[in-house]
């Protein structure tokens, strides 16, 4: 399940199906790509929700991101990707304390996954064969310090949704079952994708995502032709296609790496804070989570663009993705919340 592909596609002889379409070769869908990049710069922004039409490359983008992300340093063999030996949970027995580089984990949470598989459970094999009580880590452990991707998030079973919300909020997975009492860090960026036609998302879950983007099929013929041609070129000869796009993907990775240390030095002037507040008041969004996310996303964008401070232009760019999903639904407003944010933007932040 893990997308262990990573390392900017130097793919030798793996099957064609295992090749991952390069991130920078995705045509259009700028909002979706930007939202994913921003979380790569600052994971604290929270998750990304990608909602939209069928066949618009939602899953493709997330899987491509896995290959794009810079590597992390982790203790060899640690199931929760601990960065240093002293941070390895006590229930893990490791033979080595070597630090190795490994791809940023991007873990798929399939719809049919059982609770045991998500949170982890007693290791049946060891219990039966050796009579030992050992913990078998689940998907949440594997996703620590990386991404947890849920395709068709709106169809996920309710009890799993509750569980994920709880862990995403606390950053820790606590397992109390089968006579086990285990806890381990589980900090991950939740990426959900879905098709609104298949069903809506509960508001509690909606609010938990930092950013949300709507994707639609491109209407313009030339763009559509470009999409088909690139996809076709990729399907026919993945290796050549990947080699072709490698420089662009590497460039994006460099950008992410360069932006991360800049993050703490980006100024957020009072005018920017004022802008955030004014916009959220104009939209009547509940709570301050919207303002915080807006500022964080603006800062990540500034870092990505190597700007010294957060400007109004940055905020304007990220406002729709940071706020659109936090608005109360208005049945009479058929334009949708994205249009409402756009309207509020032109009124409050001209």
């Amino acid at each position: 399940m893990t997308q262990a592909v990573a390392r900017i596609h130097p793919r030798s002889d793996a099957a064609r199906a295992r090749a991952v379409y390069p991130f920078s070769a995705i045509v259009g869908q700028e909002d979706m790509k930007l939202a994913l990049l921003l979380t790569a710069v600052d994971p604290a922004i929270g998750g990304v929700l990608v909602f939209g039409d069928r066949g618009t490359g939602k899953s493709t983008a997330v899987r491509a991101l896995a290959a794009l992300l810079p590597e992390i340093e982790a203790v060899e063999g640690c199931p929760v990707n601990s960065p240093r030996p002293e941070q390895v949970p006590e229930w893990v027995t490791l033979s080595s304390s070597t630090i190795v580089r490994r791809p940023t984990p991007v873990v798929d949470l399939p719809l049919g996954a059982s609770e045991d598989r998500v949170v982890g459970a007693l290791d049946i094999e060891r219990a039966i064969a050796r009579g030992e009580k050992a913990f078998e880590p689940g998907l949440l452990a594997r996703a620590n310090r990386g991404y947890l991707y849920i395709d068709e998030v709106n169809l996920l079973e309710d009890h799993l949704v509750d569980l994920l919300l709880d862990v995403a909020q606390s950053g820790e997975n606590v397992v109390e079952r089968d006579g086990l009492s285990i806890r381990h860090p589980a900090r991950f960026v939740l990426v959900g994708s879905g098709n609104p036609e298949e069903g809506d998302l509960r508001p509690q879950l909606l609010d938990r995502f930092g950013l949300s983007v709507e994707v639609t099929s491109p209407r313009d013929i030339e763009t559509r032709i470009e999409v088909i041609q690139r996809r076709d070129a990729f399907d026919m000869d993945p290796d050549a296609f990947l080699a072709n796009w490698r420089p662009q993907d590497l460039g994006l990775r460099e950008d992410i790496l360069a932006a991360r240390p800049r993050l703490s030095q980006i100024q957020a002037p009072n005018t920017a804070l004022h802008d955030c507040a004014a916009l959220c008041i104009a939209l009547g969004s509940d709570g301050v989570r919207g303002e915080l996310t807006l500022l964080r996303a603006g800062r990540a964008l500034a870092a990505l663009e190597a700007a010294p401070a957060v400007t109004r232009a940055h905020l304007r760019r990220v406002a729709p993705m940071a706020l659109a999903h936090r608005l109360r639904r208005d049945p009479l407003d058929e334009a949708g919340s994205t249009a409402r944010v756009a309207r509020a933007l032109s009124e409050t932040l001209p």
């Binding site: 064609r16 199906a17 066949g55 069903g199």
Partner: protein, 553 residues
């Protein structure tokens, strides 16, 4: 589609089913269908053909612990799921396939190790394949000839095409034509031209060519695009410019109006000719009902514990609402017996050592209660006689709803406002009383009525019911939301409200009780995503019959 075309289509499928996603086979049960299904088994497919059990659960798809072998060997033995091995999955009763299964299959298809052959028995025109699945299957076959001889493709030819396939080139113009054709046919998904391109490439390989040529594209349009097309509007003059793609889409290529424009036309014509309009309309109806708003009449399924087919059991304490699932509990306890015997010497006398964490409860698919919300126009324009018939019809339906244990709500709109006469209830007596006193006369505040209907529906949904709105009106709205008489504003607001109902995902039905069908009301019904039924000379019995059959679906 003739038998030659069917043979070619089967050949295309056999060459590279995984790249194509698979086949949607729509056919009523019958001898021809049986022959086709048998033919699939004899087709020289590159992967094994595996029949999925109807309503395959996660256990069947993803595998699990094999309890018998585990107990026998003392080692955990897991059983592989159907999705663990590359295969071509034969999905019976595809029209009844639920969203959960469709999504799981769609995700499996995205990993490119499987293909799906969906057998859609098309019992009802509003049924169809779930869109998540339909979008990913390249080919569509809807055999019409009952007695035609089915010729299987030559395995040698298929094998040769498979070898040639990686060499087949696609000219730039081919992609352009396919995309343009999709545009004209009203096909939005980008998977459609992609899959059509794959189909064309296989057709070229079958024909022994190294380059995709126009005949390949035309046939690919028949196989892979025809069934996705939006049905032609009933009046042909309503669609004058099919040849010209929208002008704003960069006409930098001077050749656009040249041979290429006509090439796309040929593809469109091929796709249009492949399927009768009637089939298209049925498919479209299926899509509409399928697309999220689930007006399937039985209420949205949710996990309950009383009725319906079983879901996977969950670890939980049994209670009055949740019954113990003995098998799942034993299954959970079985692997631990050896370990527990050592750990719990005080329980050595027990044959089976069960821990509280082993307990599983049974879960079943439940159907939530339906509530029918009648929004009845009691204005002066809906004449008294018709109103009386409407009352009669509602009363008859109430009786039926009562016997089916549906809830019923009744609201009327007249003058400047709307009143909820009967909140969702099962009380037939109460409903009759309220209905009898129904006053008539005054303006038609349709928007207000729809607003109240939506409000009632939303609240019912919040209580776990599945609402359906039935609007009975002549659609001559003339009172705006604020109570002022303003025909235009009232009209616009009604349409807005109708869209809000659609956006809320509430299924609806509009009965035009006016003397003449009102085209404006039909528009509002479209906005609402509702069925529009004009019943000019209405009688209570007929109205009840129509409502009944419309709500049944």
């Amino acid at each position: 589609m003739g038998s030659d075309a069917t043979t070619t289509l089967l050949a295309v499928l056999a060459v590279d089913p995984v790249a194509l996603g698979g086949l949607w086979l729509r056919s009523r049960s019958g001898s021809h269908r049986t022959r086709l299904t048998e033919a699939l088994h004899r087709l020289s497919l590159p992967l094994p053909l595996v029949r999925l059990p109807a309503h395959a659960g996660d256990e069947a798809l993803f595998g699990g612990l094999d309890i018998a072998s585990t107990l026998g060997s003392g080692l955990p033995v897991s059983r592989p799921g159907l999705l663990d091995r590359p295969a071509i999955l034969l999905l019976p009763m595809a029209e009844r396939c639920d969203r959960a299964l469709a999504t799981r299959l769609a995700q499996a298809l995205d990993r490119h190790h499987h293909a799906v052959i969906a057998l859609d028995e098309a019992a009802d025109e509003s049924e169809g394949l779930p869109t998540a699945l339909a979008d990913r299957l390249a080919l569509f076959l809807c055999p019409d000839g009952q007695d035609e001889v089915l010729i299987l493709p030559d395995p040698e030819l298929v094998a040769a095409a498979r070898r040639r396939l990686p060499l087949v080139k696609v000219p730039h113009a081919a992609v352009r034509d396919l995309v343009a054709a999709c545009d004209v046919l009203g096909i939005e998904s980008l998977r459609a031209p992609m899959l059509a391109l794959t189909t064309a490439r296989i057709l070229a390989a079958l024909a022994g060519r190294d380059v995709v040529e126009p005949p390949d594209l035309a046939q690919a349009a028949e196989f892979a695009l025809a069934h996705r097309a939006a049905p032609m509007p009933p009046t042909p003059e309503a669609e004058p410019p099919p040849a010209q793609p929208p002008p704003e889409t960069g006409n930098d290529d001077a050749q656009r109006d040249g041979p290429e424009g006509t090439a796309a036309d040929i593809l469109v014509a091929a796709a249009r000719a492949a399927l009768p309009d009637e089939v298209l309309r049925q498919l479209d109806a299926g899509r509409l009902t399928r697309s999220g708003r689930g007006s399937t009449g039985t209420g949205a399924a949710r996990a309950g514990n009383r009725h319906g087919r079983p879901l996977t059991p969950r670890r939980a304490r049994p209670s009055a609402q949740a019954r113990l699932d003995l098998v799942a509990t034993l299954r959970s306890a079985a692997p631990w017996q050896g370990l527990r015997r050592d750990a719990w010497p005080h329980r050595a006398g027990q044959a089976l050592l069960v821990a509280p964490s082993d307990l599983h409860v049974r879960r079943c698919k439940d159907h939530s209660d339906r509530v029918l919300i009648f929004a009845v126009d009691a204005s002066g324009s809906a004449a008294v006689a018709r109103l009386a018939e409407a009352k009669g019809a509602v009363e008859m339906l109430l009786a039926q709803a009562y016997s089916r244990r549906d809830h019923v709500a009744l609201l009327t709109f007249r003058g400047t406002g709307a009143d909820l006469l009967l909140p969702p209830s099962r009380s037939l007596v109460q409903a009759r009383q309220r209905l009898r006193g129904l006053p008539g006369g005054g303006g038609t505040p349709l928007a207000r009525g729809l607003e109240l209907a939506l409000d009632t529906a939303t609240r019912a949904r919040g209580r776990g019911m599945t609402p359906t709105i039935a609007v009975l009106t002549d659609g001559k709205c003339n009172i705006a939301l604020d109570g002022r008489p303003d025909r235009e504003l009232a009209d616009a607001q009604s349409l807005q409200m109708a869209r809000a109902i659609r956006n809320a995902g509430t299924s609806a039905l509009v009965i035009d009780v006016g003397q003449r069908p009102n085209p404006r009301l039909a528009e509002i019904a479209v906005g609402m995503g509702a069925r529009y039924i004009a019943l000019p000379r209405v009688t209570a019995g007929r109205l009840a019959g129509v409502l009944e059959s419309a709500l049944e679906r």
